[in-house]
Symmetry: C2
Subunit: 190 residues, 2 copies
């Protein structure tokens, strides 16, 4: 997606080694006009699929998932929550996810009320690197008896293993921008 590429090249900041910050428009400050275009692009990429629901994970995925649903006849969005507290109820699908950024494991969960056997689900997230968050969401879909029609990613780190892990589960990955590599403080896109 050309516009997203240009925004990354113009406004993205590289923290050595190998972290791209896009806080300016994607995951701290959000540019709604860009989100509208991203939503339309995901719609295009998955236009041949029948999709019942969009699944993402808090927090950065939520806005992308909503923007995508706005383009898909307002199908429901479900976001997996992180951590367990007193107010969440009991009937949950739970998966343990490792965060390489934070160097820790956390639990992600979805209430059993919001995923039903046989539903076709599109997963949306902002970044794909090692794929741990998406693998956790796929695990939750498996527990629920749902199928994954695809994974839509805004920015993929193409030199990491997330895509191959997901594709090995027969799930299609569509990334709007793929980072080929970093050269010092420069990001090289494919």
């Amino acid at each position: 997606m050309e516009e997203l590429k240009q925004r990354i090249l113009k406004e993205g900041k590289v923290i050595i080694p190998e972290i791209l910050k896009v806080d300016n428009f994607l995951n701290h400050q959000l540019d709604p006009a860009l989100f509208q275009k991203i939503g339309a692009e995901f719609k295009k990429r998955f236009q041949d699929e029948k999709i019942d629901k969009i699944l993402t994970i808090e927090a950065s995925g939520i806005a992308l998932a909503l923007a995508t649903a706005y383009n898909m006849d307002h199908i429901p969005v479900v976001f997996a929550k992180k951590g367990i507290h007193s107010n969440i109820g009991k009937d949950l699908y739970i998966s343990k996810i490792h965060s390489y950024t934070k160097q820790e494991d956390y639990l992600a969960f979805v209430s059993k009320s919001y995923l039903h056997k046989g539903e076709k689900v599109l997963i949306i997230d902002d970044f794909l690197a090692n794929g741990q968050a998406v693998l956790g969401l796929l695990d939750i879909l498996k527990q629920a008896g749902c199928s994954c029609v695809g994974v839509g990613i805004a920015i993929e780190k193409g030199f990491q293993k997330g895509r191959s892990y997901i594709e090995s589960k027969n799930c299609k990955v569509e990334s709007l921008v793929i980072i080929d590599r970093f050269e010092g403080d420069k990001v090289i896109l494919r």
Copy 2:
């Protein structure tokens, strides 16, 4: 807002004592058609204000803020993040917030890059009860030299003190639905 009232009465679940769960459409599963209407309603409530930016806090506020920005010429959304980790940078406005739900304090922060002196900011959030999250966001706006043009809330617990705390700081509160009280497992709306 009549449609939101009806959804709460039909689909909301009360956990005794005094917790209303609206996971079915507002903060776990999201109904994008409803979000579109909520965004339009916030636009209407604040139509006389000049607004530069919308501020909210992760995670449940993000989708409401984006839906509102879609109705306001795509002004930027900024969401305060929770917790501190290695990847967040240094130049931050930070406020300590107490969560009555989780019975703990946490830090919320916004990068100094995304709030500038003199900006007029609308705060959006899903729930208002004791007002601690909004007070934290107001504290961040004060640190940044921004002014608050108003606070838009989807569901207010009218019997708690959040509104009076916020109004005592000369900030207008617009809630789409106000809970008057709970009677056992029933929610009574104003």
